[in-house]
Symmetry: C2
Subunit: 377 residues, 2 copies
C-alpha cells in the first residue's frame, strides 16, 4: 500500500470500523483538561459513569455494579475469565467467531479448565445443544458467549442461553464489546452475571478503558480468586466503593470524554434511539451495497446492525488492498474481514455517523468500483 500523501491531520477520516470510532467534537473537547485522579470532581465523573452504564443495561444499583478497568476490551475479558471461574471450576466457551476463540485462548493461557462448543460462523449457537451439554457435564460452572460476534456481525441469542445457564446453576458471562449501548439489553432478564464492553464502542467514547457490569452477589463470590493483581475485579470494585477512586491511575481524559459520551447517549434518547440510528445506517448501507452487486456474508435473519461482513466480489480484478486504499484516500476507513472460511471485508455502522455519512461512503465505493473497472452485476 502506498502512503497517504496528504498533510497529516488535514481532515479526519470517517471510521466505518468496529472501533476506535468517529466521536463527537464535544466528546473529544472534554479531554482538554487535566484533573487529578483523586480529585473531587473526577470522583464525581467516575460515579456518573458507573451509574449511567447501569442505566444503559437497564440494571439497578442494588443488583448490579459497574467496574471500569484501565486498558482495552481484551483486558476486561481476561479480567472476567481470570476472576469468575473458581480455581476448581470449569468454563464452557460458546464460539461462533474469532472473539469466542479469544475467550478460549485467554482461558488456555490462564491454565483454566475449559471446553469449547463451536458453531459455524454464519449460524447462531443452538440453545438446545448448550442445554444438553450443561446437563451432560455437571462440572461446568461458568459459561461465556459473545453477544454481537464482531467477526461477522451475527447477533447471538443471549437471553435464551442465559435462561439455560441459570437453570443449570452456572455463571453467565456475555462479551457485549461491540454492541453494548446500542442493542437494548436488560441484564437481569438475560440472567447475566458479567457483561463487558469498552469505551470506544457504541457509547461513542475514546479508547483507554473497558468496563464490566457485574451482578454484585456474583462479583463478591470471586474475592481472592483473581489470577492477576491488575485484573482483580473484586478488589477494583471494593476500592471504588470505599472512596470512589481507582486503585491504580485511571485514564482521566478518556473518562472525561466517556462521561460526555454518556450524556450525549442520554440526549439522543438512550439505547433505543441509538439502536434506531445504527439500524438506519445498516439498512442504508445494505440497500446501497446490494444495488451495486455486493452480497452480505450472513443471512439477514441473524445479521445485526452493528457491523456487516460483505463477500469479496467475484470479479478477478478485485483486490481488497486496492479497494481499501482507494476508499482511504477518499477519507473513508473500512475494515478487513475476519471470517475463516470466506473472503470478506467489513463495514461498521457505529460511532458518530448517520445515514448521510453512509450514503457518502456508498458514493465513494461506486466511484472506486468504476475506477478499478470492476463488474459486480
Amino acid at each position: 500500500m502506498k502512503t497517504n500523501t496528504k498533510i497529516p491531520g488535514w481532515k479526519d477520516k470517517i471510521l466505518f470500523t468496529p472501533g476506535p470510532l468517529t466521536t463527537s467534537p464535544k466528546v473529544k473537547q472534554a479531554m482538554l483538561r487535566d484533573l487529578g485522579s483523586r480529585d473531587f470532581e473526577f470522583i464525581g465523573v467516575i460515579k456518573g459513569i458507573r451509574e449511567l452504564l447501569l442505566k444503559a443495561g437497564q440494571a439497578t444499583s442494588d443488583e448490579y455494579t459497574t467496574v471500569p478497568l484501565q486498558g482495552c476490551g481484551t483486558y476486561a475479558l481476561e479480567a472476567v475469565i481470570g476472576c469468575y471461574v473458581p480455581q476448581d471450576g470449569k468454563l464452557l466457551v460458546v464460539i461462533n467467531g474469532a472473539y469466542g476463540h479469544r475467550i478460549a485462548k485467554i482461558a488456555s493461557v490462564l491454565k483454566i479448565d475449559f471446553e469449547t462448543m463451536e458453531f459455524p460462523e454464519d449460524q447462531t449457537p443452538d440453545p438446545a445443544q448448550i442445554q444438553a451439554k450443561l446437563k451432560s457435564d455437571p462440572n461446568i460452572t461458568n459459561v461465556a458467549i459473545t453477544h454481537c460476534e464482531t467477526t461477522t456481525g451475527i447477533m447471538n441469542p443471549i437471553k435464551e442461553v442465559g435462561a439455560i445457564v441459570k437453570a443449570a446453576g452456572a455463571k453467565f458471562f456475555v462479551d457485549a464489546m461491540s454492541c453494548f449501548g446500542a442493542v437494548p439489553t436488560n441484564l437481569a432478564e438475560c440472567n447475566i452475571d458479567y457483561l463487558v464492553s469498552s469505551a470506544n464502542k457504541c457509547i461513542e467514547g475514546v479508547p483507554g478503558f473497558s468496563f464490566v457490569i457485574a451482578k454484585i452477589s456474583s462479583l463478591l463470590e470471586t474475592e481472592g480468586n483473581a489470577r492477576s493483581l491488575s485484573f482483580d475485579l473484586c478488589a477494583q470494585y471494593k476500592g471504588l466503593e470505599a472512596n470512589g477512586q481507582f486503585r491504580f491511575t485511571p485514564p482521566t481524559h478518556a473518562m472525561l470524554a466517556f462521561y460526555q459520551a454518556l450524556l450525549e447517549l442520554d440526549a439522543e434518547g438512550g439505547v433505543e434511539a441509538r439502536a434506531a440510528r445504527y439500524r438506519n445506517n445498516y439498512e442504508t448501507l445494505v440497500k446501497g451495497m446490494r444495488k451495486m452487486g455486493f452480497e452480505e456474508y450472513l443471512d439477514q435473519k441473524v445479521q445485526g446492525y452493528i457491523i456487516t461482513s460483505f463477500r469479496y466480489p467475484k470479479d478477478p480484478n478485485f483486490s481488497f488492498e486496492k479497494f481499501y486504499e482507494a476508499l482511504n484516500e477518499r477519507d473513508y476507513v473500512i475494515y478487513p474481514g475476519k471470517v475463516s472460511n470466506a473472503d470478506c471485508f467489513r463495514i461498521g455502522n457505529i460511532g458518530r455517523i448517520s445515514a448521510s455519512d453512509v450514503r457518502d461512503l456508498l458514493g465513494a465505493i461506486r466511484d472506486v468500483i468504476k475506477e478499478m473497472g470492476l463488474k459486480l452485476l
Copy 2:
C-alpha cells in the same frame, strides 16, 4: 472534606502530584482527532513514540526496543514480572518503599517464586548486601528495583546494582515509573534488561498506557513465558514489529498526546533540560518550605528532584485534610504521604510546571498556614 462549590471546569487546578500531571495545551489538543488504530498515520505515530523513547533512554534500536502497553503503569510492572521470570526462576525484589512492595505483591499473586530484600524507606539499598545475597542464592535469576521510589522521592543506585546483577548472570528490571525522561539514564550502561514507565509521568503525556523498554535479546528469551494473554510483552513486540500495529485496541488519543509530548521534550532540550527544570522546581520548593518551617522526610543526600515528602508540622492544630482542602480550594493539588513510619505529605515537582508555579504554591501554603493559625517556627 466539603465539596468544591466552584463551577466544574471553570479553571484547571495545578497538579503537584506524582501523576496524572498538568500537561501542555498542545498535548491535550493533539487528542482532538479520531484516528483508526490500523491507519497509516497512526502507525507512524506508534513508530515515532517507540523511537523517541529509545532516545530518551540513550538506547540504540539494535540493542533495545520499546513495547507500549495499554493501561496504567501497574500493568506494565505486572507484564514484566509475569514475562521475564522463567517458570522455574526466582525473583529478588529490592524494596525501600510502597512500589517495591507492589512488585512483590504482583509476584505473590502470580505465584512466582520470590524473595524480598528490605531496606529502610529513608535509605538507599546497599549494593554490597545485594551482591552478597546474589552470591549466597544462585537460584535467583531475576532482580527488580525502583529507580525513584515515589513513596519518599528517594533515588536508588540503579547503575551500581545493575553491574552487580549482570555479574551474577541475572536479569535486571528497573521500575522507573515516576522519573523516566527526567533523570538522565543510559539503559545499556546500567545493564537494564527491562525498564518501565508510563505516559502520564515525566514525558508529560496523559494517562492511558505504559511502556516497557527492553533489551531485545532478553525479551526474545521470554517467548511463551507470559502468564497472561493481555500482558504478553513478547507477543506485543512481535505484533508491533510485524505490521506496526497493536494486537488489541490501543488508546489512540492518549498516544497522539504522547507523541506531541515527546516532541515537546525534544524541543525543551531533551532529558537533561527537563531534569534542569524539575530540579529548579524542587530547589525552589524546598527552599521555600524550609523557610516556613517544614522539614523534608529524607536526607538531602538521597532526595531526588521528582517528588518530595514533607513531615507534618508538629503543631497539634495541623490537619492534613484541612491543609489539603484549603490548597485545593486555591486550585493547587498536593498529594498525601505514603511513608510507613512517619506522617508526611508529598509535593511533586514534575509536569508542565515551572518555578513560578512553585512560588505560587508556596504563597498559597503561606496563606493557608496563617488561616489555620499554625506555628511552624
